[in-house]
Amino acid sequence: MGLARYLLKRLVAIVVTISLVLGAGYVLIYISPGTFYDAANMGQGLSQLQVSDPALYNKYLNSLNSRYGLNQPLIVQVAKYVWHSLTFNFGTSFENPSVPIIHQLASALPISAVLAFGAVVLAIVLGVPLGVLAALKRNTWLDSALTTLSMVGQAIPSFVLAVLLVLFFGVWFPGLLPINGWGTVGEAVLPIVALSAGNVGAVTRYTRGSMVEVLRQDYIRTAEAKGVPHKRVVLRHALRNSLVALVTVIGPTFAFTIISTLWVEQIFSIPGLGSLLAEAFPNKDVPLAITSVYILCLLVMGMNLLVDLLYRVLDPRVKLQ
């Protein structure tokens, strides 16, 4: 089908999916016990008020509820929430009633995006050459070493690696690289490395496998038989075909990287979307929590769509469905 129709179909699917996710998330938080307005978040004064003057306390809570629309029927709440999210009208969070969420997002989203994209790009930039090297020198000690290193990189979770990096650069060799905050290039190095280690391993193994399979093909043999220089065979013919297969793995890799940024941001004290989400969830700050999930899901779905389109461009045999 035409590109426009395919795009439309995918966008509609994204909208439907995200609406369902938002609705389900909202309902799940709604039925969960507890509320944001407890002593931890509202201070001692409120719980004292609850004891001393229950009527006033209830009136206060009711005014908060009606301010945020929490006293409407559930189905109305969900419908309104989904509609507002789709039109990017996010309101304010419970925690900071004077700061619109969209401002918080505007400062946090670029940080997380740079972190995630940086990790994926680094993974590709490091992983593809290493994978090609491993494929060309397959079954030698270099190949075994690279493969094992890749597996180790994949096995160690990014947050464990992040804590190890904090240990290394904070305790053993302090001052080499900063381990907190975000703003300078130096501060970006460690988080991106921690995030990308697993991905580098995955990309390396994947590229290697893909290259090994491609190098076995007949057309490679033909090219070599015809006398094409080995380097050109590898770069022009083999690599291009295995890159196509690599694109399919970028989608899940990016999704997993986005999730890992939640953890890495916690450890390196990076004020990104993950930190916002990590604060919002335990406190049941409903607007902020669901909005963060919304934005992150949108990022992932957008990336998946991009990857599918890219796949079509790279491999003309693929038909859009």
């Binding site: 904090v166 990590a278 992150l296």
Partner: protein
């Protein structure tokens, strides 16, 4: 006779066993890493069972006078800021880890395989509905669904187990449905139907034994992922409530305190990483052993990534 054979290097002990299981075991043994991984996995399970009995102290016992001690004879893994003996904490954590990881995989497996079988066998509208649901689950990261579920269900062992396990059904369902569809029109099933076998009988006797290999591999890849999710829940403040010990909790606390007390990190993080690595080696080995035709190229990698990521 025997000496002639011995001189020729031929064994006279009779034919080797050629059952499927022993063939698979022989393939598995070829992979040294996988065997090492299997040993660690077994040790992990054993530790999960006997850990609390072997631990010198209960997990809640706080020796305030001995807080923040580096590793010593009395506290081989040191103590944390409340004086908990880290060795005991680690030993107690094994049980929670084993229960949650295996339990969550069991839940995903149960829901996923049931739905996948139903969709594959029934076809028609059931198949369409289930596949739409699977596509929905794969469209967004399921991790967030787990977060929502933890908030809804609570932060105890069983709720966390369910929260991690429930969103994972989609991977199994898609796998099983694909396998069933592949076999449904095969000759074996056709012959069985010709003899009048019911659908349930076909499912149990013919389909299930043939898909167990792939399911086994899927579970093997799923368990380390569930461990990872469980540990990460503690990082965002939604893990097991303290003082219940868990690896995620220990790693998160160590991350905060690492500047002063690095031993709090070495042992829990190291052990956790070793366990994850071992599961991955085992899973890879199982895939090689049980599914050798999965191939060496991108197909195998796709499956591995698929199970490891499963749309989360």
């Amino acid at each position: 006779m025997a000496t002639i054979a011995a001189a020729a290097g031929i064994s006279t002990r009779g034919p080797r066993r050629t059952s499927q299981l022993s063939l698979a075991w022989r393939r598995y043994k070829r992979n040294k890493l996988a065997v090492a991984g299997a040993i660690v996995v077994v040790a992990f399970i054993v530790a999960g069972v006997i850990g609390p009995w072997v631990a010198p102290q209960g997990y809640a016992q706080a020796n305030f006078l001995d807080a923040n001690q580096p590793p010593s004879l009395r506290f081989p893994f040191g103590t944390d800021n409340l004086g908990h003996d880290m060795l005991s904490q680690v030993l107690w954590s094994f049980r929670n880890a084993v229960e949650i990881a295996f339990g969550a995989s069991l839940v995903s497996f149960a829901i996923g395989v049931a739905l996948g079988l139903w969709a594959g066998l029934r076809g028609g509208i059931v198949d369409m509905v289930v596949m739409r649901l699977v596509d929905f689950m794969f469209a967004f990261p399921n991790y967030f669904l787990s977060l929502f579920l933890v908030i809804t269900l609570g932060r105890n062992l069983l709720p966390i187990l369910l929260a991690i396990g429930i969103p994972g059904w989609a991977g199994y369902a898609r796998l099983v449905r694909g396998l069933v569809l592949g076999m449904r029109n095969g000759e074996m099933v056709e012959a069985a139907r010709a003899f009048g076998a019911s659908t349930g009988h076909i499912a149990r006797k013919y389909l299930l034994p043939n898909i167990t290999n792939s399911i086994f591999v899927a579970i093997a890849f799923g368990i380390p992922f569930d461990l990872l999710v469980m540990a990460s829940l503690s990082l965002v403040g939604l893990g097991l409530r303290p003082p219940l010990p868990s690896f995620g909790n220990m790693i998160a606390q160590a991350g905060g305190n690492v500047l002063g007390y690095p031993w709090l990190l070495y042992f829990p993080a190291g052990i956790f990483a070793v366990i994850l690595l071992s599961f991955l080696f085992v899973a890879d080995g199982l895939q090689e052993a049980l599914d050798p035709k999965a191939g060496e190229g991108h197909l195998r990698r796709t499956r591995r990534l698929w199970f490891g990521l499963r749309g989360r």
